[in-house]
């Protein structure tokens, strides 16, 4: 049974349909592997064994009665721990929410359950989504399954590691500044951050509401498109969600002939390691060979993306995390003399250092005397970046860059200085602040560690990204 755990989600779907094994057998196989191997990796915070097996049995019953719900029926999926799943602890990897059991499903989880998917459990992450290594969880460290002395990336490190370690064929993550793409790259998997508004944020614990996106991590491009299609769509409970058609997986093999692919030179700076550049440029050459037109372009405002992102996201986080005050849910301090002290002690005891840093930065940026110089300027920078992308998409159909300036770094390597860690988001943050879709897929290796290539497209052009990613994946052979 353990050999089948390397299969893709769609291979499982075909096998279930053919009766090769049951959904319950499949769920048990993944649960058994998690039980055996996750002690070394630390991908999961909660494994929902009982409910997963119940869901798997229900799937088998439906299939036996000829009522299968489709491709995802009986498929095990892991979910990042900032996405609410009813009855399963959702902690955002924070002491602040230790023991919190949501009374509702996030819209994305609802859609997966309606499609018959089996929720295996909740994956580890950097606390409240604030981090790029999965070292900022309050509960455990997630290690990179390819080299356990290295980080899995963040903040969706648990989801990426779960897929890379064959604990699940697919996982949901969230991406605010790169938190699906970067861990996907570090762990040698495919990670998609869709257009802002593609997937309802209802039930995603808010970090930065104008930037947060639920995304998908998988072992193959086709799997990724299938799951994204299932979780996308308009939701009345999220005013920013879109009703644009979400039909991604039926035109994957159109190829790239005639596509214009731009390489923003600002994302190939000296900050990017030679090994990463080499792997990404080899992939660019493959695209040329396949008939795409590949050329360098310049997007000067991209240099302002990173500072703008950190100011805007921190400002929004300081507002969003104000709800964690010890009153309605989560950590409440034991000793306090009045309501104000309840708030202060609960928050100070519940939040970790990085979360406190970001709240402080956000509060500073929004405070009187500093708002115009910092937050307002960050908004202007954000608009300049959007305009730069608009101009670039006048010349190109897609943009191509490294996902991260380096491969997965060693555990503890970047713990010394906060801004040292922030610099690893340099390639992913521009697409986040522009709200456009961006996908990372493996394109080679550097020193034995996977290198991720990032494709970015116009808003709602996920089909084009998947088509281009599929072409490269097919040409290079699937990584696993």
């Amino acid at each position: 049974m353990s050999d089948i755990l390397k299969r893709t989600l769609l291979e499982h779907a075909r096998a279930l349909s053919a009766g090769e094994y049951s959904a319950e057998e499949l769920a048990r196989a993944y649960l058994s592997r998690i039980d055996e191997k996750d002690k070394e990796i630390g991908a999961f915070l909660a494994v929902a064994e009982e409910s997963a097996l119940n869901a798997a049995r229900a799937s088998d019953k439906r299939r036996a009665e000829g009522r299968s719900l489709g491709l995802l029926d009986g498929i095990p999926i892991a979910v990042k721990d900032n996405i609410c799943a009813k009855g399963i602890a959702t902690t955002c990897a924070s002491k602040m929410l230790d023991g919190y059991i949501p009374p509702y499903d996030a819209a994305a989880v609802e859609r997966l359950r309606l499609a018959g998917a089996v929720i295996l459990g909740k994956t580890n992450m950097d606390e409240f989504g604030m981090g790029s290594s999965c070292e900022k969880s309050a509960f455990k460290l997630t290690k990179n399954p390819i080299d356990t002395s290295r980080v899995a990336g963040g903040s969706s490190g648990g989801s990426a590691a779960a897929v890379a370690a064959s604990f699940a064929p697919c996982a949901l993550g969230s991406d605010t500044g790169g938190s699906v793409r970067q861990p996907a790259a570090f762990c040698g998997t495919v990670g998609m951050k869709p257009t802002y508004g593609r997937v309802s944020r209802y039930g995603l614990v808010a970090f930065a509401s104008s930037l947060d996106c639920i995304g998908v991590i998988s072992t193959s491009v086709a799997d990724n498109a299938t799951v994204l299609g299932a979780i996308s769509g308009k939701d009345a409970r999220d005013a920013t969600s879109s009703d644009r058609e979400a039909d991604f997986d039926n035109r994957l093999d159109l190829g790239v002939s005639g596509l214009r692919i731009g390489l923003p030179k600002e994302l190939f700076s000296d900050a990017v390691s030679d090994g990463v550049k080499s792997a990404v440029m080899s992939a660019a050459e493959i695209y040329e060979r396949l008939g795409a037109k590949v050329f360098e372009i310049s997007m000067p405002s991209l240099d302002m993306s990173l500072p703008a992102y950190y100011l805007i996201s921190s400002a929004e986080a300081s507002s969003n995390l104000a709800r964690f005050d010890g009153v309605r849910y989560g950590c409440r301090a034991e000793k306090y003399s009045d309501i104000n002290e309840l708030y202060i002690r609960s928050r100070s005891e519940g939040f970790g250092d990085e979360v406190k840093r970001r709240i402080m930065l956000g509060t500073f940026a929004l405070s009187a005397g500093y708002y115009d110089k910092y937050y307002a300027k960050a908004q202007m920078a954000e608009e300049l970046v959007r305009r730069d992308f608009e101009r670039a998409f006048g010349e190109c159909d897609l943009l191509l860059s490294p996902t991260s300036p380096e491969v997965a770094f060693h555990i503890g390597e970047k713990s010394g200085s906060p801004t040292n860690m922030y610099a690893s988001d340099i390639c992913t943050v521009p697409a986040s602040i522009a709200g456009i879709p961006a996908l990372s897929l493996p394109c080679g290796a550097d020193g034995g560690m996977p290198v991720g290539l990032q494709l970015m497209g116009r808003a709602f052009s996920e089909s084009t990204l998947y088509r281009a990613a599929y072409a490269l994946e097919r040409e290079r052979g699937r990584e696993r």
Partner: protein, 102 residues
């Protein structure tokens, strides 16, 4: 660009008060240093000094709002399960205006 500290300990303490966070003497020094490092990191945006809000007229628009229609939500009972302390269908907190807590 020279990294000149913008904030002092007093500033950090004032921001902490606004953020409803409490730091020990050692931690407030560290957070002040971290904040200055992060502010220096963001100082690239000073290149936009010459630009004003009017140069971006209409850019910062609100997202569309849905109609305010009441509908069934999560039950009071389910919501109270998450609260540390409740009484008669309400969440209990320390008395807001003077006196001892319940």
């Amino acid at each position: 660009m020279e990294n000149k500290a913008l904030l002092n300990i007093g500033d950090a303490e004032r921001i902490a008060e606004l953020a409803k966070l409490d730091f020990s003497a050692l931690d407030v020094e560290r957070i002040c240093s971290d904040l200055n490092e992060m502010i220096f990191f963001a100082s690239r945006l000073s290149e936009l000094e010459k630009l004003e809000k009017k140069d971006f007229e209409g850019s910062f628009s609100l997202s569309s709002l849905r109609e305010d229609k009441p509908s069934l939500g999560i039950s009071r009972e389910e919501l109270l399960r998450s609260a540390e302390s409740s009484c008669d269908g309400f969440i209990s907190v320390p008395r807001v205006i003077g006196g001892e807590s319940r």
